[in-house]
Symmetry: D2
């Protein structure tokens, strides 16, 4: 795990320990909180066109930035609660995706790999 | 941005560019895909007790690891599509959370900051 | 509560009782299952344009129909677990929405009521 | 379709038509809004135990009641936008579930049908 991910993980560990929050941080609860945050991140986009979503008004952008952070923090914390190396899992998934979506078959298509 | 986050971001940029997928990767679409993945990550936990969620069977654990990766990949890609430094946003949010949840008020409580 | 809603509620009560599933059907678990199903319902739409979403291929349409049903079943079951009259709540909400979104202010706008 | 569902569907049709909102109500947008509402409904439950979720404080209960209504309204509207008879789909799904979860195999188990 790189220093960047380790530092964020450790900061969240300390944050929870200082507040005696480990009791609430079961994988189940963290997965729930993560899904709630992901939906809050989706909320400002729900009535926008693709085009509008590319140029958010400043207030919306700041709120979205905070929601992005919330999702990452719960994600790191959830991975930690399951003893998963999130960064390594992400690198492995990129390789797997490259196999599932070969350039020549996937180019220009939004279909799922099993429908290509 | 640290090397770790930059490398993941760049790998995803290349992945999308090679497949001509930028056309699908509007912030709106990516936020939708992220919420879908977060719910897929929640799915295996939905009928588990907190205790059970702490010791997943190996097959479930492997699936969860892949879903954790999926969420991170879409999150990095979404932040990139909005030109947000995800890592910096996460660090800033930890500081903000420390103000919203002072140790002496938040200790042992799962209440929201505005109800503490 | 009308006969239609009562019948569905009662069918789900019987279904759970016969399988001894009340133990799993806490409001918390049902709310989680509902959110998971709502995301499964969103999944087939995630890369579609608005236009494409209006004319789904037959296979997708059948899958979507089943997901719509899943969401309704969990919703009715969740309301029942909380002793809420779902139908009455929906009728009351339409009236409230009519106040929040007066025709002359809301016409043609996708803004939230507090931004109109 | 029973009178109860037809009346709710028609009230929502009129609501949208009066506000010229059909332009926003693509199946894709409605499915997104539904997922966002389902997550808002999950939000108050996220740190509760199963036990606590069975007896919500009055303020939370009122908020949950409104979220339940929001989910139903978007669900009815989404089904209508796809020309699906939601009530018939729900009745059909109960029958299908009875086949997937025979009483003798499913009793007392929270496993998915393909793992029973």
């Amino acid at each position: 795990m790189s220093k960047a991910f380790r530092e964020l993980r450790d900061a969240l560990r300390d944050f929870a320990a200082e507040r005696d929050w480990e009791q609430f941080h079961s994988p189940r609860n963290l997965a729930t909180a993560l899904a709630v945050e992901a939906a809050e991140l989706l909320e400002p986009f729900q009535w926008l066109t693709d085009e509008q979503s590319r140029s958010l008004p400043p207030g919306t952008r700041a709120a979205v930035e905070e929601e992005l952070a919330d999702v990452l923090l719960y994600l790191i914390r959830l991975a930690d609660s399951l003893d998963v190396d999130l960064e390594a899992a992400a690198r492995a998934k990129i390789l797997r995706n490259a196999e599932k979506y070969p350039v020549d078959k996937a180019r220009g298509s939004s279909l799922k790999y099993d429908q290509l």
